[in-house]
């Protein structure tokens, strides 16, 4: 059978992001438990829509026990949702963007009409560079403890060798991101930030994301009801996620075919987008994603400052979708692409296409 050209997958139901909330992202939040950190954003999105817990058809969350070093920590976070009388609930040990995908699928099946999606991460109790080594292949990679910055640095050097970027261009990505973040009151790192010393060469401190704690939540609603709850809903016109081989030496680190394929299936390439929220924790990854998503200079990239301004693990991807949706809500964007990543060197990628109603 001849391989078929990837085609755009049309959703069966119209589903929109109608509300988005996030915490201020901070280096440490010792005085707050995870549920205490999360609860205000849950209340924020419920208040924005006027929905109550009992109105939510499906709840899905994303988090990672390894960050805080506690087993089943998501069950404690459920205290913030109000799980009595019993609710329909699920959890992914992933960024909340993947929890949103699960919720979107649930709404596509027609089993629910509304969904609450949230995610959170506290990186402050541990050393996130070491913690993330535990997501690597346990036979060939994990025993060497290659940390997340080291793996990103290998990718950055590959890009430099390929002539696709250089250190001044990477510094430019960092500068633009932190400058844009001055308009984002939730950002952890904004304004003029020194590019600093090498962490793992060729990446300097300025090329790396801040380590911090934070949470985010969105509400999804299917059909016409979205227009009752939100003046200008951000319709999810397409969403898809793809994964590449875990072996770094098998992949071409200068490209992201999984991002490109996900974007193709989501319909991103059918017409131009005006905004891109890219989950690129390292400056070099923005270079790869711009190429994979064919983003030109006329597109506003990461007006929130992106992950270089705030990268709460497990929430930063969901925040990209939320930020893109919020721009549509306030009329600053009409067609936006949002991207989330997980794993080393952009191993897993999710792409969502959001649109506002034509005016």
């Amino acid at each position: 059978m001849a391989p078929r050209k990837p085609s755009v997958m049309r959703p069966a139901r119209d589903v929109a992001v109608v509300a988005f909330g996030q915490t201020d992202h901070l280096r440490t939040t010792d005085e707050l438990s995870e549920v205490e950190m999360l609860m205000p954003v849950l209340h924020q999105v419920l208040a924005a829509t006027g929905l109550r817990t009992s109105d939510i058809g499906f709840t899905c969350s994303g988090s990672c026990d390894y960050l805080a070093g506690r087993a089943f920590s998501f069950t404690m976070a459920l205290d913030g949702v109000g799980a009595w009388p019993p609710i329909s609930e699920s959890h992914v040990e992933m960024d909340g963007a993947w929890a949103l995908y699960e919720a979107w699928v649930k709404l596509q099946t027609g089993e629910a009409d509304t969904a609450l999606v949230y995610s959170y991460g506290k990186s402050s109790p541990g050393s996130v560079r070491d913690v993330l080594t535990r997501q690597l292949d346990p036979y060939y990679l994990a025993p060497l403890w290659p940390d997340s910055v080291a793996l990103a640095a290998l990718q950055a050097q590959a890009l430099i060798d390929a002539g696709e970027t250089d250190e001044p261009a990477l510094a430019g990505v960092a500068r633009r991101s932190r400058a844009d973040a001055t308009a984002n009151s939730h950002a952890q790192l904004s304004g003029s930030v020194a590019q600093g010393e090498y962490v793992v060469r060729p990446l300097r401190t300025g090329d790396c994301p801040p380590v911090g704690d934070g949470a985010a939540a969105v509400i999804l609603v299917a059909g016409e009801r979205a227009r009752d709850l939100c003046e200008r809903p951000a319709w999810i016109r397409g969403i898809d996620h793809r994964v590449e081989a875990h072996g770094l030496g098998v992949r071409d680190l200068t490209d992201s075919p999984s991002t490109r394929l996900a974007a193709e299936r989501a319909g991103v390439f059918e017409r131009p987008v005006d905004t891109a929220e890219l989950h690129a924790p390292f400056t070099s990854q923005e270079i790869v994603l711009r190429k994979a998503l064919r983003i030109g200079d006329d597109v506003t990239v990461n007006p929130s400052g992106g992950a270089l301004a705030a990268n709460p693990m497990m929430a930063a991807g969901l925040i990209r979708i939320g930020e893109a949706a919020a721009r549509i809500h306030r009329g600053a964007s009409h067609r936006a692409v949002a991207h989330a990543t997980s794993g080393p060197c952009l191993q897993q990628n999710l792409v969502a296409l959001l649109e506002g109603d034509a005016r």
């Binding site: 707050l32 205490e36 036979y139 050097q157």
Partner: protein, 320 residues
């Protein structure tokens, strides 16, 4: 009026260790046993590419692959990153380069460390050679690291290999250790601090008025923050219990003993604790109990009967 100073939140070191052992499939077993014998094996894909390190399924087609070949112990750096501050458990304790190396005869690259005097001595395309660990056990760390090698990159044909060795390695130890600083947050800090004064505190939900103990800062029913602190106990009522007949490892308690849910007076959620000071087969629902603290104990060692009449079922039936 001044508000009481906010007590410093508690912090404590927390070490999480995983002593996992993992079994190997036929391909990984051959590869890691090969490393023990200073032989590097790859695996051929259906389209003739050689993957090193080898995997059991083609990453492109998911087809099962098993044809092993031997590749060189020399190769070429495909990308690198200079690590001037090695972290705990990384391959070298001195500054080194992380490298992806395409070994001679391989089509994919292996991640490892390169021992080089400095970043100026490293470049993409440089030739390197495996430095074997003195003691090898059948693990990726049998490669101590790579070192610069001035030989040519003469294309080396990979040779078929049976993958058979005497005494093959069939598993690896995969120990992992992560260090954390645990901070229990405001609500649980208050709970732990009160325990140090042999008191038990909960928090009342502003919506349903129930008192939760131990407090976690949220009402799990209403999903709202709790803040009003309420002292509960010290006495309470056994709501349900079980008799433990099997002794846990390293536990210094004689079996059988009783483990019970105890609704402390004023609390709307039962805590669990051991019951002693009464024969195990005389513990019952409704039994009134009080905590027993040992010298320097940070929580009640156990609960014992108070001698009061049993509580009426109706007073605790909602808390079972």
């Amino acid at each position: 009026m001044t508000s009481a100073p906010v007590p410093e939140v508690l912090r404590a070191p927390l070490v999480v260790e995983f002593p996992f052992t993992r079994s190997l499939g036929p391909v990984q077993s051959a590869f890691l046993t090969g490393l023990r014998e200073r032989t590097v094996l790859g695996v051929k894909t259906g389209d003739g590419r050689t993957l090193v390190p080898p995997v059991e399924y083609d990453p492109a087609t998911a087809e099962e692959i098993r044809d092993l070949v031997e590749v060189g112990d020399t190769g070429t750096v495909t990308t690198w990153a200079w690590n001037h501050e090695p972290r705990r458990a990384q391959p070298l304790g001195t500054p080194f380069a992380w490298v992806l190396v395409k070994l001679d005869g391989a089509d994919t690259a292996l991640l490892h460390a390169l021992d080089a005097p400095g970043p100026d001595a490293v470049r993409t395309g440089m030739r390197v050679r495996i430095r074997w660990a003195a003691e090898r056990v059948g693990a990726i760390t049998d490669i101590a690291c790579f070192e610069p090698y001035d030989g040519d990159g003469a294309p080396q044909e990979s040779a078929p290999h049976s993958g058979e060795f005497t005494d093959p390695v069939t598993g690896i130890g995969a120990p992992a250790r992560l260090d954390y600083t645990y901070a229990p947050g405001r609500a649980q800090t208050a709970y732990i601090n009160a325990l140090s004064e042999q008191r038990t505190v909960g928090e009342r939900c502003p919506a349903c008025r129930k008192v939760y103990v131990p407090p976690r800062g949220a009402c799990p029913t209403c999903g709202v923050a709790t803040a009003e602190r309420v002292e509960v106990g010290p006495r309470g009522t056994v709501t349900t219990y079980c008799i433990v007949n099997i002794k846990a490892k390293n536990l210094d308690i004689e079996v059988p003993y009783v483990y019970a849910h105890i609704a402390l007076d004023g609390a709307d959620l039962a805590l669990h604790a051991r019951i002693a000071g009464i024969p195990y087969d005389e513990v019952r629902m409704g039994l009134r109990v009080e905590p027993v603290w040992t010298e320097g104990g940070r929580f009640p060692d156990h609960y014992r009967p108070t001698g009061e009449p049993d509580a009426d079922y109706d007073t605790y039936k909602e808390l079972i």
